[in-house]
Symmetry: C2
Subunit: 325 residues, 2 copies
Amino acid sequence: MTTAISPSTVAFGEYAQGEDPLPSWNEGSAKQNIVDFVCGVTTTGHPHFVKPEERVAVFDNDGTLWTEMPAYFQLAFIFDRLKALAPQHPEWKDKPLYLAVLEGDMKTVAAGGLRGLLELATVTHAGMTTDEFSKIVEEWIETARHPKFNRPYTDLIYQPMLELLAYLRAHGFKTFIVSGGGIDFMRVWADKVYGIPPEQVIGSSIVTKFEMLAGVPVLMRLPELNFMDDNVGKPVAINMHIGRRPIAAFGNSDGDLQMLQWTAAGTGSRFGLIVRHTDSVREYAYDRSPLGTLDKALAEAQAKGWTVVDMKQDWKCIYPFETRK
Amino acid sequence: MTTAISPSTVAFGEYAQGEDPLPSWNEGSAKQNIVDFVCGVTTTGHPHFVKPEERVAVFDNDGTLWTEMPAYFQLAFIFDRLKALAPQHPEWKDKPLYLAVLEGDMKTVAAGGLRGLLELATVTHAGMTTDEFSKIVEEWIETARHPKFNRPYTDLIYQPMLELLAYLRAHGFKTFIVSGGGIDFMRVWADKVYGIPPEQVIGSSIVTKFEMLAGVPVLMRLPELNFMDDNVGKPVAINMHIGRRPIAAFGNSDGDLQMLQWTAAGTGSRFGLIVRHTDSVREYAYDRSPLGTLDKALAEAQAKGWTVVDMKQDWKCIYPFETRK
């Protein structure tokens, strides 16, 4: 395998000769497919060669780069914010959905569906400037803990995916996040944990408005949805933010299907990959769960020959902290 | 001057020792301000030093990077498209605004105001896939000619600004376009003429929609405005696409005021520059014209100490073709 990639690794000088760039990936078809794809698009003279500026790779975040169970981590942020803001909003006690969050009644929260969650998201994400919001997220992400692992949420990123991001970047790829999560929520920590700078983070957003506040220009966050970056929204957002069709796309659920379809439909060599959550011991095992549903995208992956990663089989370790044991 | 910038130029190795990186700029305060700013933010140990990843510079396009007279070049595209599409739309002859364009009656077109122009823009920019639209723009930009100079529009880019873009990039800056012009219109040629890749071009947009067309995923362009990237829209778009506050902003009209205010209001060293059109012989002379109005932004530039470029005084040449004479 190292022989196959040696021309490009030598060219980029990032890996020592013979060094495995994906040490947390077990040998198998998933790892082999990745290496073969990268070899083809980065080797001058290869029929699949792609110019460096067109090497765009897009990654879903929840369930693809970090864990998304028992619920999207941003939901924990929303609930924590609602609790923190509750003393200033006595009227919330008369709203069943809000009261359910405050009392930890997740059954009622779930019954509110996506519409209810969106309302809670916009309420807790609005009413401050963009700078103030960043500080709130920064503080939360440093102090909040995951209920199962009792660790900061940013510890629950996937070590094999970190290696993959680094491997692609070392081969001239520009790596982007394209997530249903909040764009301004992710940008606070994505650079630190994934090495993905704010301008390469794409996500859902609420409306912001330019205002002069006591002579100082600010961007105020309003409680109104601007863009939902999921499903059919993902190719739209990719076109808006990147303006190029990616040559590689990585996801884990049906929300990533259109992004994978859009990527795969381009000319030349294309790579699609789906992370399948199969490890109930080291992480979680689910396919057709209400959250992070993988059904249509899995069928299409099998039909189109996209790579499906079986976490339990393909990954030597899940999280970076395991390697430091 | 070359002494002042030598530490960083040597570090980036882009300019030979003693070489002037801005040869089309006359010596004077505008050029000196640029060089002083770049020296400060790129010299390690300097109190104004800024890390490379935070060196974001934003440029308006019309009137800042290329000419915008006798009218925004994209208007010529709109009118040419309307004429090309007219045979398929006999009903346009009954619409005064459309008929005015077809008959070259610019007085009636102007009377339609921004609202009328936006309607013409959305109609001519919609009804095809994103790939099809790119091809239409590509063909137009290669064949259309400017009425005064009888040259391709892309010849009418400013040589001193090209040097400035290159100078900033050589010093670790990421250069972005933030324009009221169409994002998908500019992306077709911006990389070729300015060296600014699609993902660093921000502009106005219409709605696009993901669709399956005979089994092939496409993004269809709909005749509906998505975002107007002008005035208060510019800081909003900068936050959405870049997620960082720029440290330098370059504009030429009141439409750039909020972008300049937003940039200048950050902490640390900040740079604001306004290109003033003062050369009726080599280009055009105007400040308070109906199009490209420079009034409030000029007053604020003077009050805030932003750099004002006087094209006639500060620029040795205007266009690249002059240097090839």
